[in-house]
């Protein structure tokens, strides 16, 4: 008897530990994602191992990644555009030093570069010099921009995602967020009316026989892997859109929306239908018994009663669309630009992670930026989960 007691306690302990595993996982996800992500904001704006240098007289103390990129792309040519004096910017890369100095001057082994770079900086007021750290002289005659790190504003407000650009990688979230938003919005606008229509049809209108055929089919489609949907989109929808709209490329936000809509349909249908089916039969019969038609019964009794379930269905559908990776990756064209219409290629957050994580060196700014994307994604889905929770609780609060 005593042994039995002990044994039971032991098992209970095991069960408790298992029970806490999801919480631990969430905790770990939070820790890892946010730890890596926060690394992004200690990453220098300038490529690892390089510095930017200015003339001592130049009042500019900070440049953010986007400004740097624009300067080096010659989109900004005067310092006053970034808050400095009115003088032209002179961009000098390491390779450009040969324009100022001969090879001999720089030394056979480039051993004189540090001195020359320092000199050049000192004598050129408008200079911005992009230089590997190893060539920075001990007593460099100029301002070095080496402690500058990526600021949250740059990340969240950044309009460009160009992680491989030099000298300064661009980690602007906006195009990705907007891409995700447009694709998901399109998807949900397509999926909701159809999903709810099917749900109503299956729950109320279809005969038992029809339902018995359709229901397993929809369940089956819910199980089809996203790569298969992506593949289908790639070989069918993308060419179709390209032809129909006469587009240069078929891989567009719209293609993503369509595929996502199809993928979200089973979720929406199943959840909404289930919630309509949980409407007590008595409720329905009561309405009919009062002389309401079937349709009146549906929209006056069944749908309001299943309201929270239907809302959950919508939210879960959105969640599915936002988090979906592979299919979107395969059909949206992956252009990280802010889209203006649904007929342009876009890139979503999850697709970005999937496409780039393989190439980002561990611990690099790029790597950390991708984790930051992951963290954002995680937060969004967290919000969705919690709102679903609240919605379904509300049903009973009334």
């Amino acid at each position: 008897m005593q042994v039995k007691r002990f044994f039971e306690k032991l098992i209970e302990g095991f069960l408790l530990i298992s029970g806490s595993i999801t919480s631990i996982t969430i905790l770990l996800i939070v820790i890892f994602l946010f730890k890596e992500a926060s690394g992004l904001f200690t990453t220098p704006v300038v490529e690892e191992g390089y510095v930017l240098a200015f003339n001592k007289e130049n009042p500019i103390k900070h440049l953010n990644a986007y400004q740097i990129k624009q300067i080096f792309d010659s989109e900004i040519s005067n310092w006053n555009e970034v808050g400095g004096k009115d003088m032209p910017i002179e961009v000098v890369r390491l390779s450009d030093l040969t324009n100022y100095y001969t090879e001999e001057e720089l030394g056979a082994e480039f051993e004189h570069i540090p001195a020359k770079a320092s000199e050049l900086t000192a004598k050129t007021p408008g200079i911005v010099l992009f230089l590997p750290k190893q060539y920075v002289a001990k007593k460099f005659d100029g301002i070095l921009l080496d402690h500058e790190t990526i600021r949250p504003g740059d990340f969240f407000g950044g309009k460009e995602w160009y992680p491989t650009s030099t000298p300064s990688a661009q980690f602007g979230l906006l195009p990705l967020i907007l891409g995700t938003f447009w694709v998901s919005l399109g998807a949900i606008l397509l999926a909701l009316p159809f999903g709810l229509a099917v749900a109503v049809y299956l729950a109320e209108i279809a005969s038992m026989r029809v339902r018995n055929v359709l229901k397993p089919l929809i369940e089956l489609l819910a199980g089809i892997p996203s790569v298969v949907y992506g593949f289908f989109g790639l070989v069918v929808i993308v060419p179709f859109l390209q032809q129909t709209f006469g587009l240069p490329v078929g891989e567009t936000a719209l293609a993503g929306s369509i595929i996502l809509a199809i993928m979200a349909l089973p979720t929406i249908i199943t959840v909404a239908e289930d919630s309509m089916r949980t409407v007590p039969r008595a409720m329905k019969e009561a309405s009919l018994a009062l002389g309401a038609t079937h349709w009146q019964t549906i929209y006056k009794v069944i749908v309001p009663y299943a309201k929270s379930g239907i809302m959950s269905a919508a939210v879960l559908g959105i969640g599915r669309a936002i988090g979906e990776t592979m299919a979107v990756l395969m059909v949206t064209g992956n252009a990280a630009v802010i889209p203006h219409t649904l007929l342009e290629p876009v890139r979503t957050i999850p697709a970005t992670i999937a496409a780039e994580l393989g190439e980002a060196p561990v611990g690099s700014g790029h790597y950390q930026a991708l984790f930051a994307l992951g963290a954002i994604l995680f937060l969004i889905t967290m919000i969705i989960s919690i709102s679903v929770e609240l919605i379904s609780k509300k049903k009973y609060a009334k």
Binding site: K4, F7, E8, E12, F14, L16, S18, G19, S20, I21, T22, S23, T25, I26, L28, I29, F32, L33, P193, F194, G195, A197, V198, Y201, I205, P216, I218, L220, L221, G223, I224, P225, S226, V227, V228, Y229, G230, F231, F232, I262, L265, H294, W295, Q296, Y299, G323, T325, M326, P350, I353, A354, L357, G358, G374, L377, F378, T381, S385, V388, E389
Partner: protein
Amino acid sequence: MQSKRISQAIAFTLFKLMSYAVIVILVLILGFIISRGIGVINWEFLTAAPEEGMTKGGIFPAIVGTFYLIIGSSLFSFPIGIMSGIYMNEYATDNKLASFIRIMTNNLSGVPSVVFGLFGMALFVNTLGFGDSILAGSLTLGLLSLPLVIRTTEESLKAIDNSFREGSLALGATKLQTIQKVVLPMAFPNIITGLILSIGRVSGETAPILFTVAAYFLPKLPNSIFDQVMALPYHLYVISTSGTDIESSRAMAYGTAFVLISIILIINILASVLRNYFAKKVKMN
């Protein structure tokens, strides 16, 4: 009075049309993949490794890899998930801890698969040093399917009327005996079907294995759990988007998609057969 009938007629027709439209689309997808893929299937395709930049040969390593990943993830998620489900439904009845755990589980199930990929890479591949390996991939997939297993278990347990538990307790059984002898046997059919469906989910996931296990091309089979493997979904992704010769690997892609769908089909059929079998068994004996 006539108007309420007319509006019913319009609404119902509309719903019916929309429903059939949706069903047609869904059936088209299935039909398309199956019709294009079925011709590709032959013995070689199923048993050989890819050749010539993946435009020829088969997908055997990917099938095996997927199989390993299914086994590996199930070994992790089934026991823990079932135990967790039991804990939540049977032990942590109404306290704050339980509702916290429940919220956490729901949250976890909403986390996108790519985030699992990130997390798996950070934890298993890098921090724990498993590298890209079956182990890391299985654990990642296991975590991904964990909420599903827990939810299935919990729901199966919840479906069992409390009166059965009380009936057992009232006969002098302990709580564990009650779970073991009454609750679990009753929940078993539903749990089993749930588990099988979770395998379906695992077998089709791509994003989580991208950075934790999947190999682009690996003609040999793995030797240990620390090896990389190919996997069907990743393979399909690769040959349809970034193969060396996308056009000529199309056939391979259709074949792979077909195999993936077949796995899902088989799993669904298996699940519903089991469900019916158990339902009948309960009624009959």
